[in-house]
Symmetry: C2
Subunit: 484 residues, 2 copies
């Protein structure tokens, strides 16, 4: 083979590898066969052929058959190079739908790959509420250009959606509402609906408004279908629906959706005027994001990370908590430094001290996690009665755990180092550090909440800092008092 032939073969193999991976993913997620799995055999053959022929055109045809959410998921699961290859194959008119489905981190990589022309074309197809979701990641003058292309109502909606914080109801609402008047008969409503080409997704209720657009009630589709068509809307509508205001906290709205099993709900302004609606699909996304950010925060990641992100991006996403950790570890190290003399006299202390600190951290994290969760679910008020009650309980748990586990490790230490005194110091230090962990595990989130701060953010780092430094201090301090 000539060198050129070798090169060509390599390029072909690499393409085959990449296509193979795409197809493996399609298989794995049952996207090719469809969720019904009915035509599995039939499709599978086609896909294998596709790999062998390396027919990009066929892959493109496959992609066209997929739901935008499936394409989005496929893109998220592909390394950058392959992701952009697939992205190029997607038909331009589907770009917008798919951009709305992918995660923020992946969306960034896709947008970076599009030129202004493509981006504008994709954005032009979107509703005001979809545009609002995307606007943060578009160039500023493109947003202006897009705004000018909208009609007055859409522009107003986009502007209002952009004026709310990410965690407010206003940023989550959409504008796809079907409104009716209260004085018409259900028969008329049914005829009106039939004249519409289609109903917006998640339409489980129609919104009843007066001539000024003020919400008078809602007409659940369920009731519309089972009621006598001669009745009027006013007779069967629900007049006291669960409703939201645009500046309300989105997480509280999510709790209401969960609690009352809602599918959609109206959003009204201060004067009771209907301005939008919330739907369960946005709420589900919100719940998922909320729990993700909780997990990520606990692990010390600032935000969701594209698993195939560049090294540099990962470093940026992770440096903050590493730096915080470094500082707290340094403080703990200085605490140990105070007891240099004690340690050099009894070097066993150096080996035992991480146990005291570690168990304290673990136990403190148990307490603080439970309390932060209860607060997030609004199950815990910060009243004095509750604080005292929780303190009593957590201190009792800590006392039992300290005596039991401290006792176990104390006996081991006493036997191992042949020193009863060391064993006793170990038990006492463990118990005291667990008590400290319980105390701070209750007081830190309660205090943060009373100061109006978010108790979740950094609570775990704070408790670990306390139990590390505290654990070293208690253990080494007791040792120098009792054993020296």
């Amino acid at each position: 083979m000539t060198e050129a032939e070798v090169e060509a073969k390599k390029a072909q193999e690499s393409l085959q590898d990449r296509l193979g991976q795409v197809v493996e993913l399609l298989h794995r997620h049952k996207l090719v066969e469809g969720l019904t799995q009915r035509q599995e055999g039939h499709h599978q053959d086609r896909v294998e052929q596709l790999v062998h022929r390396q027919h990009l055109v066929e892959l493109q045809a496959k992609l066209d058959e997929l739901h935008p959410a499936d394409v989005a998921h496929l893109l998220e699961a592909l390394p950058l190079e392959d992701r952009l290859m697939v992205w190029q194959l997607v038909k331009a008119e589907r770009d917008g739908d798919i951009l709305l489905e992918v995660s923020d981190a992946v969306r960034e990589t896709l947008i970076a790959d599009m030129d202004d022309q493509e981006l504008l074309a994709a954005a032009r197809e979107m509703d005001a509420d979809a545009l609002a979701d995307l606007a943060a990641e578009l160039p500023r003058d493109m947003v202006h250009e897009l705004m000018e292309g909208l009609d007055a109502q859409q522009r107003e909606r986009l502007r209002s959606a952009l004026s709310y914080e990410e965690d407010q109801v206003g940023a989550l609402m959409d504008f796809a509402m079907v409104t009716i008047r209260e004085d018409v008969s259900l028969e008329v409503v049914l005829r009106y609906l039939r004249r519409l080409k289609e109903l917006p997704g998640h339409t489980d209720k129609l919104f009843v408004v007066d001539y000024d657009g003020v919400l008078k009630g809602v007409l659940p589709i369920k009731r519309l279908l089972v009621s006598d068509p001669d009745k009027t809307v006013a007779q069967i509508m629900a007049i006291d629906p669960v409703l939201f205001h645009p500046d309300e906290d989105a997480y509280e709205a999510a709790q209401a959706f969960e609690r009352y099993n809602l599918v959609s709900a109206p959003v009204v302004d201060k004067n009771g005027k209907l301005i939008g609606r919330l739907t369960i699909d946005e709420i589900v996304d919100l719940i998922r994001e909320e729990s993700e950010s909780e997990v990520l925060n606990m692990a010390g990641l600032r935000e969701e990370e594209d698993i195939f992100a560049s090294v540099w991006k990962s470093v940026r996403n992770r440096w903050f908590w590493l730096a915080v950790n470094l500082m707290t570890a340094f403080v703990a190290s200085r605490v140990i430094g105070l007891f240099d003399d004690t340690i050099s006299e009894l070097v066993a202390l150096a080996a035992l001290m991480p146990i005291v600190a570690g168990i304290g951290g673990n136990s403190g994290n148990q307490t603080i996690t439970m309390i932060v969760r209860a607060m997030a679910l609004d199950q815990l008020t910060t009243g004095k009665g509750n604080t005292l009650r929780l303190l009593r309980k957590e201190l009792s748990v800590a006392l039992i755990n300290g005596l039991v586990w401290g006792g176990v490790i104390g006996v081991v230490a006493a036997v191992l180092y042949d020193s009863l005194g060391l064993g006793l110091v170990m038990v006492s230090a463990m118990t005291l550090n667990l008590l400290l962990a319980a105390l701070m595990g209750v007081l830190i989130p309660m205090t943060l909440a009373r100061l109006g701060r978010d108790p979740a953010m950094g609570a775990s780092v704070m408790i670990t800092a306390v139990t590390d430094s505290g654990g070293f201090f208690i253990f080494l301090g007791l040792a120098s008092l009792c054993l020296m």
Copy 2:
């Protein structure tokens, strides 16, 4: 005052306190005023009176006005004593609905407070799918008694629902389906619906079945409403809906609900026969539970804990991870023990070693959390290509972080202890431990997944164990090689 009077006064004050707390909660959660807040002023006065009069009867009336989910939430937010007081005030016929809404931990406390008669009465009001949710916590012979009280179809349904694992679709489905035939016109469907008194919650589609009960398609209500009533069901139904099998993984069903924005979906058996349906409200609960158990596992709690649980219950919920932690800490302690001589020669090592171990743990947890999440969302296959790619990336991130943060702390250590050698050992040990953390952060979840295990469970504990023992070994090992 006589002693009896003092006692009476105390009892009264305690009751007042407790009622006050209940009312505070009612206020806080806007339950009293209703979410619309329209009649706030009016209601508020009433509630204050209620506290002063300590009128249990009025509190009872208030409770009767609340949605069962709100009562459930109130019960969850009350300490045991108050919780049982409120529980006694709830009308017996609402017991069942409320039991279904509370968390498992709180449900246990409520059931423990009911006698068999009350429990039976509450359970008799329930559907088969609701009973199935509750059955695990009822006495076994009561379940038998309840089964005998059901008609044949309900009994069969209950038996089948009980035969599935908690995380299977079969355990989540309900049986409230509206089925129609494909050969009738939409006009007939509309008339049929009107004859039903009401439609089940979350009915966004009707299920089209043949005479054997085999699913032929679904008729979305949206389409029913906008289509010509003279058309037949077969003409406008969707023939390839997203559907599930009862033995499928419920979490995968949840992902499909999220991805395709579903409100309800049919569940069919192997022969395509319709046996139940899934609805978004159950899916939302599942997503919430999934994310909760993830957070709780990370913090070392075995399951959701009633915040007002008894000390003994809390101890049981927490002992397992504490014991695991104790063992890994003990291993790390033995590693340090290997270097007794080195430490007694250079006691600064004892103060610096926790920094190396701590940063390694933090960094390893960042890596492993990201990978476990990507796996849970099916974004990451365990193929060799992906493992290598991730290893390359994570090792690069670790190298950068090690050199940067290791460099910072190395300089500090060199200055503090006036020893260039110590600084260099610090930098090298930090870098090596971060590389170890990255390596294990990728390999542990990938290996667990390839062995068919759940990578989430205990991953964080394993990585911390590795970075602790590894960090101590690397740092003290390097120190004894280079500085002694």
